[in-house]
Symmetry: C2
Subunit: 363 residues, 2 copies
């Protein structure tokens, strides 16, 4: 099948660029002697998770338990859940998959740790627990230092929990434009995590697992020496916003744009303006409007949930009814979460279909 035979709106992956991205991140981690555990929240696809593991990843990260359940049901065997799992209902669900796969989970709260230990005992399962440390993002996580040590003690003293290590993710700086600023902030985040690890080791607790990092800081994270595992997600696809930031001191962008959307012209109401079949239900808007590919002089505007509009500054629309237009999404994760499958292509040919089996698994 050819690309131009696809009904739209449709979510496309340029396979060659995608595979190059996968290989580059793997090499980046290998050269730094760091394990590579890509974040599956970006793609939510068991097919892609398997490709990443075949390429050398030690396993994947999931943001939500529901994602992990889907991936385990598709034979993914090693998953770190990077968001706290709270309450008896979800903890019981987690123990069920921990019977079938190696499951690690972050925690940042005593009450949660105590409840998890109790549920683990009831279920006869011993999950790995990673203390989440707030290394500057100001979201989840205990403060670096003694607060993290206290939680590590609590995990260590729980019969049914294994203390695995620390997680520190600085999501707020992934798209900082200046490479120099991002470099300083990312090294500071890694420093907070390694200092906390040192404190915990000095207290006599075993600790050799420090996980974190993102696509925007991946080059820095790999060079900073401290993390033992990288968990980038978006590097596979590259939001359009990643093209706006400086990479590696401004020299090169290590990853390529591989994810696009294809939309069709469905109405030509007047000269210089056309309506597309891609609205707010077909591409996310939280990162800004998507960017049209190779359409100079076109400005995009959402026109509701099912429509959008292109206006051409010269007053003349070069598109005919049914013509297809490609767009780069500004935020890949939230756009992928609207679709049930990726269509992989090479040149003009459709080469594969990868299901987004964990789409919508927010619980």
């Amino acid at each position: 099948m050819k690309l131009n035979q696809l009904d739209t709106p449709v979510l496309l992956i340029e396979e060659d660029a995608f595979l190059r991205n996968m290989k580059r991140m793997q090499e980046l981690a290998e050269k730094a002697g760091i394990a590579y555990r890509p974040h599956a929240k970006a793609h939510k696809s068991s097919e892609i998770a398997k490709m990443q593991i075949d390429a050398g990843a030690v396993g994947v990260c999931c943001a939500k338990l529901g994602e992990a359940e889907v991936l385990v049901s598709h034979d993914i065997k090693d998953i770190l859940i990077t968001t706290p799992v709270i309450g008896i209902s979800k903890l019981t669900r987690m123990m069920r998959i921990a019977n079938k796969a190696k499951i690690s989970v972050v925690a940042d709260n005593s009450e949660n740790i105590a409840e998890m230990a109790a549920v683990a005992q009831t279920c006869g399962v011993r999950p790995d627990v990673v203390i989440e440390v707030d290394v500057g993002q100001g979201r989840c996580g205990v403060q670096p230092g003694d607060a993290a040590l206290d939680l590590a003690y609590e995990v260590m003293s729980a019969d049914w929990l294994n203390f695995k290590g620390l997680q520190g993710y600085q999501g707020a700086i992934q798209m900082t434009t200046s490479f120099a600023e991002r470099d300083v902030a990312a090294r500071k985040a890694v420093g907070l995590l390694t200092d906390t690890a040192e404190l915990i080791r000095k207290a006599g607790l075993p600790l050799d697992y420090l996980t974190g990092g993102g696509s925007g800081t991946s080059v820095i994270d790999a060079a900073a020496a401290g993390l033992t595992e990288l968990q980038p997600g978006g590097y596979l696809f590259m939001d359009s916003r990643y093209r706006e930031i400086e990479w590696d001191g401004g020299n090169s962008i290590p990853f390529e744009q591989s994810l696009t959307l294809l939309a069709s012209v469905i109405s030509l109401p007047e000269p210089g303006r056309c309506i597309l079949d891609m609205g707010l239900k077909a591409v996310s808007s939280d990162g800004g409007p998507p960017v049209p590919v190779n359409l100079p002089g076109a400005s995009f505007k959402f026109a509701g949930e099912e429509h959008s509009e292109l206006v051409f500054e010269n007053g003349s629309c070069p598109l005919a009814l049914g013509d297809k237009v490609a767009f780069v999404p500004t935020h890949c994760d939230t756009t992928v979460n609207l679709y049930d499958r990726f269509i992989a292509y090479s040149g003009e040919d459709v080469v594969d279909v990868w299901n987004i089996a964990a789409r919508g698994r927010v619980q």
Copy 2:
């Protein structure tokens, strides 16, 4: 099962309010002597479509062919597709469902009408075609008057197409705050449609079907005398933004808020601040942030795709780990499209589950 036993984030419908909304819109249409064809793009659920039809609706509207396919597969028998269906591939798909149900579709373009006629002949199916007229929204649709008459002639002269009537939807005014302004604009839109219908009738073409209207203008549309069919969608749920506008001269809101989201506290990183498990993948942001229910002094902020944050102005968070918080979405349609099911409840009890079978059907 009780509401507080549900894992979160979860999409809830307060069943009593929802059923009252359904009944009120039905009565509004009946009193005005107008048919009622609610828009299924809001709920994307065959269960809800059936309830609407059982309550007296003549059928439903769908925004996309893919939605219509799902509803036909669940035995919905009368569907108007309110967006043009373009190209041989989609037109062929449309003829397939037109073999099983009464399918009408809008059109605003000669080329599309000619192609539809050819595909209809090939498939041996005769769909109903509704000319879409731009009554002020500036999206799809031909201009009122002669342009619409020309297209009506084209449909009439095509052997394999039935000319059904006109659609005019003024989406841009649904949330105009002032009732008086909305009233003027909605009556103007209906007037443009009825004037065009008169022109077409004078030219000798049969025309007794004028469809349009939305939730925000429903009271006005019903009173304006002109439309023969109302197609509101959001009235079932009521976005939080609908509470901000004047209804019926400011006197009363005819529909109730019935759709909410439930999220849980998953982290308490510092006094006065908590993190919830509801991010950009669990509630849409295109209409603004969701509104917390009964949490005075709390300000909401998205904190990524999987998290959000509540900050309490008095510096003290009244919520404990695992506590649940209800939110009203600002834009129901795009929020519903993130979920696979509605949980209907009454009081504290879960009473039903309705699948969102057409979720993500953007093609």
